[in-house]
């Protein structure tokens, strides 16, 4: 007797659409991915009870930010006034300042000085190459 064995069909999951799904997800992540999230100016705050640092007066560059205007004062260079932060940035970049690492940029703000303007002045002195920067708030 010849017995005809019926071929057992195996259950299987079709993986043909797997690559389509992978590409779909890939496109989603490529579109939504953000590689660099934020930019900012790094500062180190002084400790709460840190001793004040002594620095020679001739090394101090006082930068007073009043509204949009800026006043730059230094013992050897005298006093200069700038009508805008933009002008201050341009002029500071042209100034020849010997021994820059020893110099201190002291940014002085009044109670009404906008945070955005203070940050602009801070960025300007950092980009100019001042390594010692301090911010003082006039009370």
């Amino acid at each position: 007797m010849i017995s005809l064995k019926k071929k057992v069909e195996l259950d299987e999951i079709s993986a043909a659409s797997m690559s389509d799904m992978a590409f779909l997800l890939l496109v989603f992540f490529m579109v939504t991915a953000v590689f660099f999230v934020k930019e900012g100016l790094n500062i180190n705050l002084p400790r709460k009870n840190a001793k004040p640092t002594e620095i020679l007066r001739e090394h101090v560059f006082e930068i007073t930010v009043i509204g949009e205007t800026v006043r730059l004062k230094n013992q050897s260079m005298g006093e200069r006034n700038y009508k805008s932060l933009f002008e201050f940035r341009n002029e500071l970049n042209k100034l020849e300042i010997p021994n820059l690492p020893e110099k201190l940029a002291l940014i002085i703000t009044s109670g009404e000085t906008k945070y955005g303007n203070m940050l602009d002045a801070l960025s300007t002195v950092q980009l100019r190459g001042f390594q010692k920067v301090s911010v003082k708030r006039k009370k």
């Binding site: 930019e39 790094n42 709460k48 109670g111 945070y115």
Partner: protein, 136 residues
């Protein structure tokens, strides 16, 4: 005369799915989903900003009429936000605090936050600026 069957050129695409999955995993690992709170903060546009790393805590200072303060995505008072920073600082001493302050705020308002941070011992601070889309 027997005609020889011409073999059609073809590109094997069997490894395409593997490449796709590999790229998929890469993007899943490296992408960062935007987790900023729903608050309007006009960040200052200044040059010279550096890219900031991920060991961070975010404080948002809004210039709205309530002068709202957010710690990461949650709105809270300044002392509460500082307490959260202090707690995070105990587990991660290298923590950097990112200040997202509105450019229309006065510096004295932002300085108050600095005073609180100094007391908490969080001395590494970054002042977040508007990201330059074209890079540096």
């Amino acid at each position: 005369m027997l005609k020889r069957k011409k073999a059609m050129p073809n590109i094997p695409v069997s490894s395409m799915a593997d490449i796709a999955f590999l790229l998929l995993v890469f993007f899943m690992v490296t992408s960062v989903l935007d987790s900023d709170p729903d608050v309007q903060v006009a960040l200052p546009e200044v040059p010279g900003g550096e890219q900031l790393n991920k060991k961070i805590a975010n404080i948002y200072l809004s210039a709205d009429e309530n002068k709202s303060i957010y710690y990461n995505t949650m709105r809270m008072s300044l002392p509460e936000a500082i307490n959260n920073v202090r707690a995070k600082l105990s587990t991660n001493p290298d923590l950097k605090v990112l200040i997202h302050a509105d450019k229309e705020l006065t510096y004295s308002e932002v300085d108050t936050v600095f005073e609180f941070l100094k007391e908490a011992g969080a001395l590494k601070v970054s002042l977040v600026t508007q990201t330059n889309p074209g890079g540096k």
